[in-house]
Symmetry: C2
Subunit: 247 residues, 2 copies
């Protein structure tokens, strides 16, 4: 009866998750009946890289971090997920192992869907494969975005982009509360905490004020413009050579 504990509002989130949205109501109910609502405190490990995938997770509250331990001992963050996000559906259905580890970074409520249930459901409702592809498609895109970011943008630019995505407006001034600790943000953006600190300082020159967890942005559009800039070798300016002298 674990689904008895799932509130009405949670059900809505579940129904709208790309993974479930294409499924008929009875398929969803069947999955929910087998699933378990779990509470996990910060620092809990949901699963570890290379473990056999026995369940996938839908985040209802809190934050979950996906990461890889590298040979050199530090971790490479692959993504940070929140309410409505689905984790590890693919290895779960294809019967493989988790390709990453998952750790709760802010007290979380998650729906754990056991792989057994899905594999069975697969026969009854084969369109679940397609539903899952929809969800996976998003993940692929996110990963590609991240690769592009790492390859083509500097630290401050990645941070600017991160802030723009968090912002509630498209232009003009606004205030942003950082969703989790700077340590984690640094990981998410592929840099060290020290570098993140300095990245924040750099952003002051494009109208960003920092106060602990609260960021005040003068103009989001300006920040967005900075994020996508030509790898700003501006600042160099030892002279007036904006144009080019002939000859």
């Amino acid at each position: 009866m674990s689904e008895a504990r799932i509130g009405r509002y949670d059900r809505e989130v579940i129904r709208e998750a790309p993974m479930f949205s294409a499924l008929p109501a009875e398929a969803i109910d069947s999955l929910l009946a087998q699933s378990e609502l779990q509470f996990h405190a910060r620092r809990t490990t949901l699963f570890e890289q290379d473990d056999p995938a026995t369940a996938f997770y839908l985040v209802l509250d809190g934050w979950v971090k996906l990461f890889r331990m590298t040979v050199s001992g530090d971790e490479a963050v692959v993504g940070v997920f929140a309410r409505g996000d689905c984790i590890a559906e693919v290895p779960c259905l294809t019967g493989g192992n988790y390709p990453v580890s998952a750790e709760v970074v802010a007290d979380a409520r998650v729906l754990a869907v056991p792989s057994r249930g899905i594999v069975e459901l697969t026969r009854a409702a084969p369109e679940i494969g397609l539903a899952m592809l929809a969800s996976t498609s998003l993940h692929l895109r996110k990963l590609v975005d991240q690769i592009e970011e790492l390859k083509a943008r500097t630290g401050p630019q990645r941070l600017a982009n991160f802030l723009v995505e968090l912002a509630p407006v498209k232009q003009g001034p606004c205030t942003i509360a950082l969703p989790y600790e700077k340590l984690l943000i640094a990981g998410r953006l592929g840099m060290k905490p020290e570098s993140l600190s300095r990245a924040f300082q750099r952003l002051q020159s494009v109208g960003v004020r920092i106060n602990h967890n609260t960021i005040a942005v003068g103009d989001i559009a300006r920040l967005a413009e900075f994020a996508g800039r030509e790898r700003l070798m501006a600042f160099r300016c030892p002279g007036f050579r904006v144009g080019c002298a002939p000859g």
Copy 2:
């Protein structure tokens, strides 16, 4: 009758592709009947980012590069694919747009499977969704690998890893022919051609000799060890402080 042109050996590659391997023979035949065998010269564009996905591709020969144009004008290579690899199955089936562009970088023979065919087949053989997930799972893993590499390894280490993956043996000496131009390798590894040149030079100190397209490796195991090393601040050595003097 386009499949009449598909050779016996090609059929085997098709059957073994993760995308097709789980499908019943008649489903494969049905797909092949609608597909087209295409030849593309180097520098041909298969599709462009943000175009609607009208077909997916199975590479039979040659090399195909997936990439993103960044705001700053240069390209971020997301992957380079060869015989047996499947490209863009996901957006094709979910009816989205291509998230990247695809360009042929070495004269290629590809099987183009129109999206219409798959969407139809979806009703007759719904397990195709699952088959596709198997293929997608590989892509996800590759992307995660790449992110980990970019975040945690230096240029020379990424190159070392690249060579190790190409190597025909697991240990001992061997010779490797670079599969495509260094310009492209540089892109694939997320660096500029100049940096790649220097990365090759650095590898000489772990027993690698370079001669144009041919790489001679003294000991693959040693190279692998280098690839996964602790971000080698070795070489520093201005003195004898291997240990630490007390106080």
